[in-house]
Amino acid sequence: MAKMGMCDCGPSYAGRRQRGGAFLDRLAGGLVHAMDRALDADDLARRDGLLQRLDPRVKLAGLLGLIVVAVFVKSLAVLGGLFLVAVALALPSQVSLSRLARQIWLKVLAFTVLIALPAVFLVPGTIVARVPILLWPVTLQGIRSATFLLGRAETAATFALLLILTTPWPHVLKALRVFRAPIVLVAVLGMTHRYIFVFLESASQMFASRRSRMVGPLSPSDRRRVATATAGVLLDKALGLSTEVQLAMASRGYRGEVRLIDDFHATPLDGVALAGFAAIASAALWLQA
């Protein structure tokens, strides 16, 4: 039987174990943090704010409309204007800029830069600089293309996050059904939302359990093997639990339709908001034309 404990690990053992433990700590902490953030988002949707006061149907139509405009707009200035509109909607809705930066802007930036960066060098046009040593040309048109991609992604993601943060998820689903989204799509979205929670909780428990049984350091290859096996088990386990949740819902009469105790009631504010969304979208399209 392999030796366990601290006897023969020498002075470096504690450090190595700490690194392994710290990794699992970070992972478990990250999962708990993700759950907390999701719960926090649910709280935020029930607070009083500009977007929270709007009828979910108006919000869904308006914000999805602005996302479509942001994707198709061909003027950087207009795209910048739409981004400012998103920021302007966030502040009176109790969505802080730091939250947007943490949850969306930095993450979208990290992913989009990877995709957009080659365009800076590959799109032909006026050379404005060269990469030191490699001497790759940086073109004006390339920068413009990359900026468009980044701007569209950031703006669309900001509108989407505003919708999610200011609307309880079941209301989003019900609003989708009002707009005749297929029942299968809505049921899948509902299940996905629940699955994410089940997955996070299972993952958090599994990593805590694994950490409690970690008695020595693993080699990098062992660590990779364990991580792969754990991921497989976790997916299987979460899927099983998610199926149980679905059975529990079916047991109480759920057949895919979204039914809520709250009825949607449009108010004069919703009329103003709808007109506002339409005006912004029209202005954006007119200005870029």
């Binding site: 998820w169 079941p170 059975l247 529990a248 109480r252």
Partner: protein, 292 residues
Amino acid sequence: MTGSLERPVIPAFELVDVHYAYPGAPALQGLSLTIEPGQRVALLGANGSGKSTLLRLLDGLYFADRGTVSAFGEALSEARLQDDATAFAFRRRVGLVFQNPDVQLFCPTVFDELAFGPLQLGWAKDEIRDRVAATLAEFSIAHLKDRPPHRLSGGEKKRVALASVLILNPEVLLLDEPTAGLDPQSASELIDYLVKCQGSGRTVIAATHDLDIVEDIADRCFVLQSGRLAASGAASEILDDAALCRSAHIAHAHYHRHGDAVDHHHHHRHTSEAAHGGLPQAAAPTKASQTS
């Protein structure tokens, strides 16, 4: 009309030669049993004996691979439950409380959780609000109304899970390990509730390992072993049959401490067995356990 007086009682459930298997693992093998309306039934058996699978078959969540399951005199099949009206009528009459309340509580608040079932069945919203308020009060959980269910304690979750099913006032209540994970106080309250069901006309079918509660919550027991019916009878008869309990792995000999003495008991010895002599104190577990 005198004919109505002679009409035979339609069983709540009737299973004939039911087989059900998970991929590569048979769960129920030729199970036949009848449960009369208003009966309080305990399903006993070791882990993997098929109790939970049976409950899901009775709730129309699983369907038999072979054999027939009838509910209220009509075949319970996947094809029949495809029809919305039939499915809603069935869900209105039969409610299942899952063993793990976490899978049963999926709404943002306790209020939404209780309203979920009635909403699916298309009740009027004002009626739902009234019924939710009444049920919250009945289960002493009104103070939890706006709390997210996943942030409740284990006992509170179980209580909410039970309330979320009983708000529909089903004729048949199916319970999977009702006292699992509950502290003694919460378990006792749940048992009190189930005891009150006696004579109410509600059929209660509980799968349990907890032999201490069987006589309180059930008049009749079915003992399952490897997916087959090993025995059935009155609760007291089944619990008195020590050989049956041991062979079905639902009872075991165990040790526990009375002051300085350590006794060796067989769980649920009623009349036929005496306690054995104790083991040396050092070898005995110190945990106090339930007495027979």
